[in-house]
Subunit: 340 residues, 4 copies
């Protein structure tokens, strides 16, 4: 067999998502290879590197980034570890795909933003994979082209089969609704201005103390109202749906489909159990497009500013959740620097 | 042909709904006939009575109620005229089906409630026809039987093709959302505790000054959150949808269906233009069940208390709309009197 | 209560369908009453008549037709008994609604046709209730108006939960596919020219000897091909679906809808168990329109000719089933006589 | 950037499909590269090779197969050219992915089969991409696992927006229904025993002489009946649907879904215009899995036997179309040789 130049990626953090990304780069997408992996758990890192030709294993992210053949970095470590790795990658001027959240708080996000601004061009993409889902893209195009006029309302459903017992009310905002914050910004082309959180009497099937479900309502700067049902312990599966209400019509995505059966007195189909299955194609496309752009020296996906904006909305959302009040989202002015 | 005892109905108010009810009693349902009609416009009354054997035409509601062969009253006149006719009908101890709203305000509703309480038995049914829609009934049964556990959230969509230019922000609550106030009370079996109204930037296709659409959010006494999108100038048709989110699953009604075509690069179907078409079968069933019960001397549908509760929620909703605040619904304690 | 002239109906045959029609005339539709009932089982007849004012019970159909107050006849007795009752009703010049089949064979159907022709006007309507189903009517209108151009193919599904053990292969044609024979003639506006029957290896869940399911394929005079899946022991419910393929698009009816739930890893809804539930509204409309027309001295629904045509197609279908060959449908020329 | 061993593919034939495969190997899938291209039109070959590092352009397929770095062959030339290229590739013992049809007739297919048998292991995969479609795979799994019992009937729809004027009746079988021949064999796990073709009066929008649509009905050896609507000039889009009717239920794939809009009095969505869009993900997966297997020295997809069986069914189908009769499919006994 012949050989070809490929983007060598260092994957940092080999948990559920990181392992899936290693598999994806190794076996699914084109033009990239896993050149190094890092995990604080050495055994996990070595096991991930084992079957991949030329892939080295590390416990230190920086060592992985400096390993032979590394051209780019994919960060899938826990959120609190992101900032240090991001800053180190920017220091090396490497293209980065960083799983969300960019950082746990706006202070960290601003430091990353400043580092990239100093570098003078975009290097970091944040892993908001919904922007790569086929249905979301259709909805985005319809809204951008004003096919049904100006958007007025956006109804969102975000439902999980179940969550780990350590999941907190704050994480409902920062880990779950953060996807809707980014999706809404992207679909509507506007920043989020303020957030409210309303809580019904919680499900008795949720852990004691977890207020599940919740209704998160936010407004964009242009006055679009977005309502998000976040429900973590549905017991039936993973559903992500959105309906945009525009001046001349509505558009809805996320309906279940595929194989439809009639049996036992019922018609219908299966619900995906998790985001790995529901967004499998979106993750493939996300990493493919990121690698393609990285090979050209570009970043085309959501960047540090988008990561910062989502974190800022989360901070307002968590305060709104705590106080029961409408909380304005506070953001700095967007810095300008070339896209490269 | 032979003859049979039938409920003689006086129809008061021959507008769009009244005329439709005259047609329904005359030609669709069983066991009832139109015995008299009344409208302030004499010509309209006479025209309605013209084709119906034994039906007399009046301009005065009381005269119609006293006309020969009248056993029951259907009130379809404008809301402000309801109270006087209701009190007169109760005075005659006649069974009544009164289109909503029961009265324009709670003060009037309480006077009607007091009159019926004094009579000592229920005589008045309020025209909340959704309780007679096949899909709503399926949802009500599922919720009552706790098939999917306790309800937590109820998402509602209420969309019109367009409205008359005189439609006001207040009417969005009192004429439109009043249906959801009643439907939620009935589906959930709980009173409404408080109402919020949120307004996005309005559609440019709505009349200047009309804040269309709006998001009306209310809580029940038991803590269920209900969100209602009310959108009057969609330009595409009449849609009423509801999705109950319960502890172990969700249940949705109101999806479009029927004839599905593939043509011109698109698949899909038609949307009903108005409630007359969408709820045709529900109106038929409502009037049939009302007449059947009236012949047995009973009232089985939503009564004065339900009419009062909806008006009380509307008053809170209108204040919430005006102030932007959460407004508690204030209601008297429910009087007890036999059902007859 | 006042009284009003109503069509007095004699219901002949109080089995499952007959009893449902008694209930329908008594309690659902407008302008008609049950004046007499007849069943060979006297107890059954008396029990049906018991709760209905002025309704007499008989064992002899002719006595029922001659009972006081009888203006019209609804025949729901077994097929072999139809001819005698039809001829007697025509002799009395009474309007008739006769459940299908008109008669078990074309010889009998031709005698009824001749009797009505001699009478000189239409009096008999045959109970093809699909013509009164809302979705079928939408499809009929679309095809009649050539909205999608000329029809080319019609795909039909006709599925039952299960059938009685005495159900035979011949009855699959005469009792089940007869509905599609009429529906196709009505939808397409053409007579059926020839029939084929293809049989897959039968379901092991069907009774020994019953070839279930079967594929019945017929051509109209104008060359439209109609394929019908007839499947009696699906085990899951009653489904009737049709898809017309036209020159510029397709149109489909009969999709399941109504309450859609998400629970236990699946989305979907319930399937109706039988035709009584699936076509409840169609039966109501059929009997209402028949009674309305009868009061005007008219017949507006499918008549003797339609009943004869369906029986002729069934005879060809049964021969095709027996021989495995394409069998042409043989019919007399249509006699002309006024509609009255 | 680093380098990695990749499967070097020679793409033979750079028409619509060939060009799409070049793009796919170059930019979408992992572990493969385009090492050479061949087309009788030199300019086309050179243009395809232009942007790809290390890719050579040829007019002679054999030269392309012998070019430096070629490890495997993808044949996308017109059907009549397949045999020669297949035999040459087998002579070189190269893994092949050959677009369907394997060859235009069974005589050629048998020669390819014999050549591979002599080689002693499987080398050739045929491009039946539906086996790689997510929904088809779900249906195949359900049928294989007998989730709803034994299959009895399979209803298929195969509709195109339009076709080139040179499309003939025979091509409706060999180019279009050949997909259903393979899909049915794969889904049901049985060979096809006999074929019938029924023709309705043709659409006036099809070219004079083309009998469009047609109903192709075939039986498997085990007695499953398969009916295929093949309709080439629908004017509305590309639709491929299948419904399996089993002993305990039905399962349907291919419903339209994705973005659903409500606007202009209608709800619904878009229909894909062609197979390139409808089966984009299936093509990606097909070529990825083929390349992965080829790197391991294996063939896991449909092989020469499957290509031969489809051609044999097509020959019977074309005779059935010509004669109007049921025509048995004649096939040799399946030769046995190791899978490698």
């Amino acid at each position: 067999m012949t050989t070809q130049a490929q983007l060598g990626v260092a994957v940092i953090g080999i948990g559920k998502m990181g392992a899936d990304h290693v598999r994806r780069i190794d076996r699914v997408i084109s033009g990239a290879r896993v050149a190094a992996v890092a995990d604080t758990d050495r055994e996990r890192a070595e096991s991930a590197a084992a079957g991949i030709a030329g892939c080295t294993a590390h416990t230190d992210p920086d060592a992985a980034m400096g390993a032979p053949g590394v051209d780019a970095v994919l960060i899938a470590s826990p959120g609190p570890a992101h900032e240090e790795t991001l800053l180190a990658a920017l220091d090396r001027d490497l293209p980065v795909l960083c799983e969300k959240p960019l950082t746990p708080d706006t202070a960290g996000a601003l430091r990353v933003l400043e580092a990239e601004r100093k570098l003078g061009h975009r290097r970091v993409q944040v892993g908001f994979m919904r922007r790569y889902d086929a249905e979301y893209r259709q909805l985005a195009r319809l809204l951008r082209d004003r096919e049904l006029g100006r958007p007025l309302l956006l109804h969102c459903r975000h439902r999980n089969l179940s969550v780990h017992p350590y999941f907190t009310n704050e994480m409902m905002i920062s880990d779950s609704v953060s996807h809707e914050f980014d999706a809404a910004r992207w679909l509507l082309g506007e920043e989020i201005a303020a957030v409210r959180v309303l809580r019904p009497a919680p499900s008795s099937l949720a852990r004691e103390g977890l207020s599940d479900p919740q209704l998160v309502i936010f407004e964009t700067e242009g006055g679009v109202l977005v309502d998000v049902e976040i429900f973590l312990n549905t017991g039936f599966g993973y559903q992500v749906q959105a309906e945009a209400v525009c001046e001349r019509g509505t558009a809805r995505i996320g309906d279940e489909h595929a194989l439809v059966t009639s049996a036992d007195g019922r018609w219908g189909g299966r619900i995906a159990p998790d985001y790995i299955e529901r967004f499998a194609a979106a993750y493939d496309r996300e990493v493919q497009e990121w690698a393609d752009a990285a090979r050209r020296g570009e970043v085309t996906g959501p960047g540090v500013w988008d990561g910062y904006a989502a974190v800022a909305a989360c901070e307002a959302g968590i305060e709104a959740q705590r106080t029961g009040r409408r909380v304005a989202v506070e953001m700095i002015e967007r810095p300008k620097y070339p896209e490269r």
